[in-house]
Amino acid sequence: MALKTETFILNAGPQHPSTHGVFRMRLTLDGEVIQDVEPVFGYLHRGIEKLAEGLTYPQDIVFTDRLDYLASMTNNQAYVVAVEKLAGIQAPERAEYLRVIMAELMRISSHLMAVGFLLNDLGAFLTPLLYMYREREKILDLFDMVCGQRLTYNYMRIGGVSQDIPEEFIPALKKYIDSLPGFINEYEQLLATNEIVLIRTKNVGILTKESAINYSAAGPVLRGSGVKWDIRKADPYSVYERFKFEVPVGSVGDIYDRYRVRIEEMHQSIAIIRQAMEQLPQGEIQAKIPKVLRPPKGEAYGHIEGPKGELGFYLVSDGSTNPYRLHVRPPSLINLTALKELLVGVKIADAMAIFGSIDICVGEVDR
């Protein structure tokens, strides 16, 4: 006798411990196996794109902090890169170097969080996450020293940065950068060869090269699938051409590859920061820009390699003090489009791990 079974719908989120904020998935389940996914987002929508139209260009920087709140520095940078492109401003050398240092620190911090939360989604009882937090805290200390806040930095300005670094910054940074590889190795020992992590992550959630490109995924998700694409190399902005660094790629495109790519990128970021510290020139930190900025009519798209992928700001100016339109290309949201392909057919436990490996930030998905 054939058993009569039926699928049922499970609401994962918006209040669910593993959905990284208030993301919601309507899962159609057959026992433990996922048959269908319907992502629902918008619970954290604050209308930042619309808000930005009512504010002046410098004031909008404040709101970019609140998009991806785990990587505010890079958000700042992407926005100012776009505005500088729009208004034809060139930031001074020192400012560019400071931006690079901050952005790479931010990348390390964001990747720390990503792998920490991934392990948490795999069920490790907070331990790896708290080790990550310990290291991230040191980065936040540095940011705090420079700009006085630990989460919403509001550090970059159009044509420069808000303040120069204090003199105790470079020694502290050096100390941190020297201690970090040891920590990452320790962390690797904790998990990279752990059999449970391996069987949970290898060959799970495979995103092929072709579909990664078709979904226009970016960042570690794309590189994990083996596509060597990094805006820092492909369309160098700021002073990135001057640094030597590798773009790590994965081979299979599973959770483990994404995780490896993030770990390797941290090592690369350390290398970049080392070089930037050596080359850091003296001088101005702020270009001369008019007190009231009125970019010429036109439009510009500025993009950078954020920790989660290509972060772009598209700006339209009508010649006034406020942008006519601001549009964000949030890497989290676009990486999420692959979710359905990844999740259908896997078990709930893997679904959470895959979701964690994409590394989204709901502030950025919903804007």
């Binding site: 026992g31 949970r200 078990k347 709930i348 436990a349």
Partner: protein, 374 residues
């Protein structure tokens, strides 16, 4: 009935109870020990909650609860008070009777296990001559309570959790029982006190493989990491107890820790020579060993992520079960063929054998990471 000079399984079950000399001896003994066991369980559960939180926070480079009382020792008391004065919420469409009964069904068997645990020489509520059989029989009843909770809550997360727990516990029961038989063969008795008395050297040395199998299987039995699929908070939020609050939730919480204490005490008794030990009084030795085992469990919890359900099942059937059979075979041969061989020779042979077996079996163990075709 005896084989090779050892007493094996008398056909009648009888409980030997100490000190029945004074009037109402049996009943006074019973009442005193019931009080002692209950107090032990409740106090130890609260102690373990505090202990686990403190120890795990050390692994996580934190301090842990340290505000209430000296070293935060009163934290569990505060937690209990908080949890008891909470509103007892019963959701609308639950199966009322099952929802109400589930916590009781879960906790009673968990506490009943302690009836046969010898805290000191002969100091147990009853020294059943089938003690370990009783434990195996009783301890798995707790899951009925958990399944009832999962079913009765009318919640999908709870239901998934209940399904998982049935599959998991039923599978792990088999290697668990088989690994215990190894101990019983060496000890020649089923009585818990008898097993301890037989351990001139701790059975962990004679039965290293059995110990590993029992440890892993019992972790799965009581749903501790890495087998805590039952309440995988990252996946199914809190599992079977998601719809419980207040006193009923407290009972489930207590069940969890009671079970953890139970396996710690059982491991102590079966493999670590129970209350035996030099210098210190037996009860103290017993407690020290129990805490040592529990620390190991916490350590595992602090380090490892969780397995997936199919991997958990595969691990039970493809890894633990064959190993448990082989262990049983080896033990049987050793007991029957060389009853007079020095124990230390057997220790050496068994340690080498288990290392070889574990490596050999790991090589053969595979899991599938692929998708299920929908």
């Amino acid at each position: 009935m005896s084989i090779l000079g050892r007493n094996v399984l008398p056909l009648t079950v009888h409980a030997s109870v100490l000190a029945p000399d004074w009037p109402w001896g049996f009943w006074s003994h019973m009442i005193i020990f019931v009080v002692i066991v209950m107090a032990f369980v409740i106090l130890m559960a609260m102690g373990f909650i505090w202990f686990e939180r403190r120890v795990i926070s050390r692994y996580q480079i934190r301090i842990g609860p340290n505000r209430i009382g000296p070293f935060g020792l009163l934290q569990p008391v505060a937690d209990v008070i908080k949890i008891l004065i909470k509103e007892d919420i019963v959701p609308l469409n639950v199966d009322k009777i099952i929802h109400l009964l589930a916590p009781a069904v879960a906790i009673i068997p968990a506490i009943m296990v302690f009836a046969v645990i010898p805290f000191s020489n002969g100091a147990s509520l009853v020294d059943l001559n089938i003690g370990i059989l009783y434990i195996v029989a009783i301890s798995s009843i707790s899951i009925v309570g958990q399944v009832m909770a999962g079913w009765g809550s009318n919640n999908k997360y709870a239901l998934i959790s209940a399904m998982r727990v049935i599959a998991q516990v039923v599978s792990y029961e088999i290697p668990l029982a088989l690994s215990i038989i190894g101990v019983v063969l060496f000890a020649g008795t089923l009585s818990m006190n008898g097993i301890v008395q037989q351990q001139s050297i701790p059975f962990i040395l004679l039965q290293p493989l059995g110990f590993i199998i029992y440890f892993l299987a019992s972790l799965a039995e009581v749903n501790r990491t890495p087998f805590d699929l039952l309440e995988a908070e990252g996946e199914i939020v809190a599992g079977y107890n998601i719809e419980y609050s207040g006193f009923k939730f407290a009972l489930f919480y207590l069940t969890e820790y009671t079970e953890a204490i139970a396996i710690s005490t059982i491991i102590t008794t079966l493999y670590l020579a129970g209350w035996k030990g030099p210098f210190l009084p037996p009860v103290l030795w017993f407690l020290i060993k129990v805490f040592a085992v529990f620390t190991l469990i916490i350590w595992v919890r602090a380090t490892l992520p969780r397995l997936r359900i199919d991997q958990v099942m595969g691990f039970a059937w493809k890894f633990l079960l064959p190993l448990a059979f082989i262990n049983l075979l080896i033990t049987g041969v050793q007991v029957v063929a060389w009853p007079d061989l020095s124990q230390w020779v057997i220790v050496a042979v068994n340690i080498v054998l288990s290392a070889v077996l574990i490596v050999a079996f790991s090589r053969m163990f595979r899991t599938k990471g692929d998708k299920v075709e929908a």
